[in-house]
C-alpha cells in the first residue's frame, strides 16, 4: 500500500518537499514516526493532520490511496 503526504507552509520548506509517498504505513501515528525519521526538524513545529481533506486529531488507520496533509496554523486572509 501507498499513501500520499502533503507538506504545507513552513513544513514544505523544512522538509524540502511538498509531496512524498510512503509505503506500508499502518496508521497516522506510524506515519508520523516515519516522517520524523526523514525530517527530524519537523518535530519542532506546530501542525495539524488532515486525512483526505478532513482534519483529524485521532490515530486513524490508513489505506492505500489515502492523502495525508501536514498543516501548520492557517494564515489566510
Amino acid at each position: 500500500m501507498e499513501v500520499k503526504v502533503l507538506f504545507f507552509g513552513v513544513l514544505a520548506e523544512v522538509s524540502g518537499t511538498q509531496l512524498k509517498h510512503y509505503h506500508d504505513v499502518k496508521s497516522i501515528s506510524d506515519l508520523k514516526l516515519r516522517i520524523y525519521d526523514d525530517f527530524p526538524e519537523i518535530v519542532h513545529y506546530n501542525f495539524r493532520i488532515s486525512l483526505n481533506s478532513e482534519i483529524t486529531d485521532n490515530d486513524l488507520l490508513l489505506k492505500s490511496g489515502d492523502e495525508i496533509a501536514l498543516m501548520p496554523p492557517f494564515a489566510g486572509g
Binding site: 502533503l6 504545507f8 507552509g9 513552513v10 514544505a12 520548506e13 488532515s50 481533506s53 496533509a69 498543516m71 501548520p72 492557517f74 494564515a75 489566510g76 486572509g77
Partner: protein, 141 residues
C-alpha cells in the same frame, strides 16, 4: 483542481467590478457588504514587507469554503449570496489578497454575515503565507 474560491495572484480590480456588476442584477438585494484584505507593507525587524506569497491546500479550500457558504446561508436567511475569493502565489504590498462579497435583503444581515465569513475564513481555510521582504529574505506566518 478547479476552484471558485482561489485566484492566482492578487484579486484584481476587474474581478471586484465584475462582482459589483453581477450583484446589481439581483433587485431583491438591499445591501452588499464587502471585505477586501490587502497586503500591508509592515515593517518587521527593520525590514519592510514587499509581498506575501500564499499557498493553499486547494481541494480542502474548496470543501471548507463550501462549508462556510452553507453555514452563512443557513444562519442568515436574509443573505442572497456569498462570494469568497482568496489569492494564491505572490501578492505585492497594496494589492488585494481576499475578497468577501455578501448580498442580502437588508443591511444588518449583510454586514453581520460579512464579518462572520471573514472570521470563518481566517479560522478554517487551509492557506499559508510567507512574508517576503525588500532584501528577498522571508518569514513564515
Amino acid at each position: 483542481m478547479e476552484t471558485n474560491y482561489l485566484t492566482a495572484g492578487p484579486v484584481s480590480q476587474k474581478l471586484i467590478s465584475q462582482l459589483v456588476e453581477k450583484m446589481s442584477h439581483n433587485t431583491d438585494s438591499g445591501g452588499h457588504s464587502i471585505f477586501l484584505g490587502q497586503v500591508r507593507a509592515d515593517e518587521i525587524d527593520g525590514k519592510s514587507v514587499k509581498a506575501i506569497e500564499y499557498s493553499a491546500y486547494v481541494e480542502m479550500v474548496n470543501i471548507e469554503a463550501e462549508n462556510i457558504k452553507k453555514k452563512i446561508l443557513s444562519e442568515f436567511p436574509d443573505v442572497k449570496s456569498v462570494d469568497i475569493i482568496h489569492s494564491t502565489g505572490i501578492v505585492s504590498a497594496g494589492e488585494i489578497s481576499l475578497l468577501v462579497f455578501i448580498s442580502a435583503g437588508h443591511r444588518h444581515q449583510a454586514i453581520q454575515a460579512c464579518s462572520k465569513t471573514v472570521e470563518l475564513i481566517k479560522d478554517n481555510l487551509p492557506v499559508w503565507k510567507k512574508e517576503i521582504f525588500e532584501d528577498d529574505s522571508h518569514k513564515w506566518k
